[in-house]
Symmetry: C2
Subunit: 340 residues, 2 copies
């Protein structure tokens, strides 16, 4: 009989936390006990898992007794404080925050790309940022085949990356504007409905945003290429779920459009959507609710030697967060079961 | 006394045609007669210009008798057929369609950048594509100072570039989705509300779209650099008015962020919006209704030698179309008055 695991979700009432619960169920992860944890104010909330009611309890120091896998998605501060406590209690933490991603002793893993990094860890595995995950899933097969020299990426990021209140506010603002009323703003610093905001995350010292530097540093770490040249501009767009990315790469070795298409078609976790004539290309509305990273608009970029340009879309809550975390748990369980 | 001119607007009932009328009035262009022309089905529509009612008449071969300047914005076919007739009747045509832009005998002009190109023409001046205009206004001062080697641009284009029916359909789809009803599609091939569509314009042979190749060829022509390396991805976003562009340039000579900011602050037609901490950056919601090209998010791009990255936003109907056309007319009038 296959073993089963006691799993905790920290941040169980957030958008990603809820998605983690859904995906554990969808993928049939062998859960013997599910412990839903959140802050004091969500205590007592009832969620369903495999048709059974589960009550959310308050995250405390003792929350992790007996837990095998703790999936964290409650922000950096919570992860910094509670991940070590979970490890101490014997759990393996899979952390969706930025708290541990750049720690040299913490593997930063996208299973399709670098599951080998899971062999050595101190109890914490970091889940990359949403925009990084969909980028590296698309880049990895290309890097294996042609070697990346430089990556330029412009993102089109949906508001769900900012949590469930952002979904509500985009909807509210859209309705307000449709009725010629002024917009209300609580979550967004700027009007988000029918607008573009070239500011995702916090400001860094040199004018870059945290979302942009994450794309650079996390991609380098996952691909194991600390010198890879990457430039990024991250823009929030009035979309509920699903991030888009316009990507321009410079390769050491040339590749044709058909070769790239074939490469991606065979790669794990990718669906090619590349037929402009048929109106087939990656779009958030198709990617939302799916686990694949959609790749399309594949073109030779003649403005540089061995240039290739393409567009990527994926569900930022699923593959960009919850699905990737559960895939890491699956991989760790597999390794444990086979004795690695 | 300053001379005044008889002006025709072809496509007077379209979004850009209406904006041309507004801008002629706003800028006090010396109009002695305004002739509003459109297709048969708009005949009899009444528009106001300087508080006087003007009746739209049907565009016919004889529409241009006595006209000095004919501003065209009625699509390529109309321009191909009627621009030569207008020239024959003695008018100078300023054409907003793609029909004549790449004709070697037709100047393609953004007055802030290459008004010198107006000295020689055969009666037709082409107005560039909306996404090209805002790009070259930002690129030109940088090119003058540091010489562009390569430009990578990802666009975020509003739906108004597709005409007034597109505005209605984005609003309708947004309301439908807010009410959990299926979306209706007539103008858009894809759901546009709360989605991203990486497909602007028609398909070209090599997988690029017409909007992307226009960015390449028109930018080269306006800057007078037929070999300039440019890569572009054009994406339609659920915004009513105002295009955004994430731009990454490689320069022959280095420039600091402050030097670039100063350069743009002094340049004609540009407003610098570059203070991330204050939440100040180019956004469609601010650019809409304005004539300036907004430039911000200015950063050194260390992924390449002498790299600079920035974000641009402008009103695609005004500076991206109507304002630029009226500026060309002003420039031509000035030259005529000074005997050039």
């Amino acid at each position: 009989m296959r073993p089963s695991y006691r799993v905790a979700i920290v941040g169980a009432t957030g958008l990603v936390g809820k998605e983690m619960r859904t995906i554990l169920e969808e993928r049939g992860f062998p859960v013997s006990e599910l412990r839903l944890l959140a802050s004091e104010r969500s205590k007592g909330e009832v969620q369903s898992f495999r048709d059974e009611a589960h009550v959310v309890s308050t995250l405390v120091e003792e929350s992790f007794e007996g837990i095998d896998f703790a999936l964290f998605s409650a922000g950096e501060e919570v992860s910094r404080e509670f991940a070590p406590l979970a490890v101490k209690a014997g759990a393996i933490v899979i952390d969706n925050s930025a708290a541990w991603r750049m720690d040299s002793e913490v593997p930063l893993v996208v299973p399709e790309v670098n599951d080998g990094a899971l062999t050595k860890h101190k109890g914490i595995i970091a889940n990359p940022n949403c925009s990084t995950i969909q980028l590296v899933v698309a880049l990895a097969p290309l890097h294996d085949e042609c070697i990346l020299e430089r990556v330029v990426v412009a993102t089109y990021q949906s508001v769900s990356g900012m949590g469930s209140a952002a979904l509500d506010e985009l909807l509210a603002q859209s309705i307000q504007l449709a009725n010629f009323r002024p917009v209300t703003q609580k979550v967004f610093r700027q009007q988000m409905a029918f607008n573009l905001v070239p500011h995702c995350g916090s400001m860094q010292s040199d004018g870059w945003t945290s979302e942009e530097t994450k794309l650079v540093h996390e991609t380098r770490k996952i691909l194991g290429e600390p010198e890879l040249q990457i430039a990024a501009t991250a823009v929030r767009v009035p979309v509920f779920i699903g991030h888009g990315e316009a990507v321009f790469v410079e390769l050491e070795h040339p590749i044709s459009v058909q070769e790239a298409r074939d490469l991606w078609a065979e790669a794990d976790g990718i669906e090619v959507r590349d037929d402009l004539e048929a109106g087939t290309y990656p779009m958030p509305v198709d990617a939302a609710g799916q686990d694949a990273v959609y790749v399309g608009r594949i073109r030779i970029d003649e403005s540089v030697q061995h240039g290739l340009s393409f567009f990527v879309a994926a569900d930022n809550l699923r593959k960009g967060a919850a699905t990737n975390a559960v895939q890491i748990a699956e991989e760790l369980a597999k390794r444990r079961e086979s004795g690695h």
